[in-house]
């Protein structure tokens, strides 16, 4: 199932209390406040709630919200 921006924004909001409005494709994880530890928690969230498994190596390549959507929806 395709991961939409709306679903992703809701998941991130519920777990990290970030305003929906800030979670846009161009928003970088840095700007949103995700340090290296928080990115690990973001990966766990995506795996648990969206069935998207991101390896540690792949996690390093993700720098903004759009990257997550592309990765999650690859081959869908």
């Amino acid at each position: 199932m395709k991961l939409t921006l709306q679903t992703l924004a809701q998941l991130i909001h519920d777990r990290f209390q970030i305003d929906h409005g800030l979670i846009v494709p161009d928003a970088s994880l840095d700007e949103l406040g995700f340090d290296s530890l928080s990115q690990i928690d973001l990966a766990v969230l995506l795996q648990k709630k969206a069935g998207v498994t991101i390896s540690d190596a792949k996690l390093n390549e993700i720098s903004k919200i759009a990257d997550i959507l592309v990765f999650a929806n690859e081959g869908v």
């Binding site: 777990r15 990290f16 530890l37 928080s38 690990i40 766990v44």
Partner: protein
């Protein structure tokens, strides 16, 4: 009197008596208890607490809010209020390396640790948060506050259980006296209302069982007292040397004049039967302040409302200060904030000195007949108050007294 005086130039409080110093002081003077039935504790042996009513972390614009355990949230909120009160702008320091942050706690981020432990058992080790330790460690309220405020001086979290907040203020005074810092953000914080903490205190028979009438459950010095009511919150001072405060034209609200600490060296939880440790701490604080017992007009007691503490403490007070000294416990209103208690009560004492009003002991209807001091009950007392003392005693037999004056 030639002893060193540390100026209190700012205060911040977030407690069951209210968010902000003004609300706190009004409720503490009113003698209205903040205790109530707590739905989060339903099914446990004791299901009441003193919560910070109406608290929503999202109201306080915390940076990266998911990284803050509740005990660290309280600390930053109180620190911000204290800085504003002191007329200081976070981050706008003349020299950030001269700004220290000393914030004690007894339980640290126990809610985070308990939740993550439960998650590990139910879901597996790979599912726990990578922020478990950055949120759970006891020194992280001090660490997070220093980060948020850009304070680069000494930063640590003293722990002496329920005396931690008072220890922090005493050590802050030492840092100022020794010239190690120009400004110290000092206090205590605690968010211990969790199933594990409440159940563990209940097993020790330390908590009041009057769950059908939470409003009267915390009743320090009363003959019918049967334990404390657990509370949460934080108290933070901005402290400076008098010279530093004067130089920048800051208002000095009160001064920390003396700090004394001791150990019972007796038992992990029972106070020494003659209150030896309590007496030693009070004597050390008087010595440090360079005053005789007769200079102390009012004592904000540790007064937990436990059968064990209150009589022993009052007896130790009477032995040192005589029967005429005025004594009250603000825990009848706030409940027991554990590692934050010493800091919030130091703030209440500073407010007593500033306003000339000693707060009453809430719910004190039938004083324990073994107590022979002048207990303040029901209504605040107007006093020409120049100097008072605050007691804080922790498990482990760890005792702290602070002398605070005008």
């Amino acid at each position: 009197m030639s002893a060193f005086a540390a100026a209190i130039t700012g205060m911040g409080l977030i407690t069951p008596a209210g968010i902000g110093v003004g609300k706190n002081w009004a409720q503490v003077l009113s003698g209205r208890s903040a205790a109530s039935t707590d739905p989060t504790l339903k099914g446990l042996p004791v299901d009441m607490s003193c919560r910070v009513a109406g608290f929503q972390a999202s109201d306080f614009n915390l940076p990266t809010p998911w990284q803050w355990d509740r005990f660290a949230q309280f600390a930053l909120i109180a620190a911000r209020e204290a800085l504003q009160d002191a007329g200081l702008e976070p981050g706008q320091w003349e020299d950030g390396s001269r700004v220290a942050v000393i914030i004690g706690s007894g339980a640290g981020g126990t809610a985070t640790l308990e939740q993550q432990h439960q998650l590990m058992l139910s879901e597996g080790a790979d599912d726990i948060s990578s922020l478990t330790l950055p949120m759970g460690l006891l020194n992280m309220a001090a660490g997070q506050v220093a980060i948020a405020l850009g304070a680069r001086g000494p930063c640590f979290a003293p722990c002496s259980a329920c005396a931690s907040g008072a220890t922090a203020i005493g050590l802050a005074r030492d840092l100022l006296r020794n010239g190690v810092a120009d400004v110290v953000i000092a206090g205590g914080t605690e968010a211990p209302i969790t199933p594990l903490y409440v159940s563990a205190f209940a097993r020790m028979r330390a908590l009041s069982r009057r769950t059908t009438d939470a409003q009267t459950a915390s009743r320090p010095f009363d003959a019918t007292r049967d334990g404390f009511v657990i509370g949460e919150g934080a108290g933070v001072f901005v402290m400076e040397s008098e010279a530093h405060a004067r130089k920048r034209g800051a208002r000095i609200r009160a001064k920390v004049l003396g700090y004394g600490a001791s150990a019972d060296a007796h038992h992990v939880t029972s106070p020494h039967p003659e209150g030896l440790g309590a007496r030693l701490a009070m004597q050390a604080a008087l010595r440090d302040a360079g005053v005789d017992a007769g200079a102390i007009q009012y004592i904000n007691a540790h007064g937990t409302s436990t059968p064990g503490n209150d009589v022993v403490e009052a007896t130790a007070i009477q032995a040192l200060f005589g029967s005429q000294v005025a004594v009250s416990s603000t825990k009848g209103v706030t409940g027991h904030l554990l590692g934050a208690a010493g800091a919030i009560e130091a703030a209440y004492l500073a407010l007593s000195v500033e306003t000339g009003q000693a707060p009453p002991t809430a719910n004190l209807n039938n004083p324990d007949p073994r107590i022979d001091v002048d207990l303040i009950a029901k209504v605040p007392r107007q006093m020409d108050l120049r100097m008072g003392l605050s007691n804080s005693f922790g498990f482990g037999g760890q005792n702290v007294s602070l002398v605070i004056g005008a």
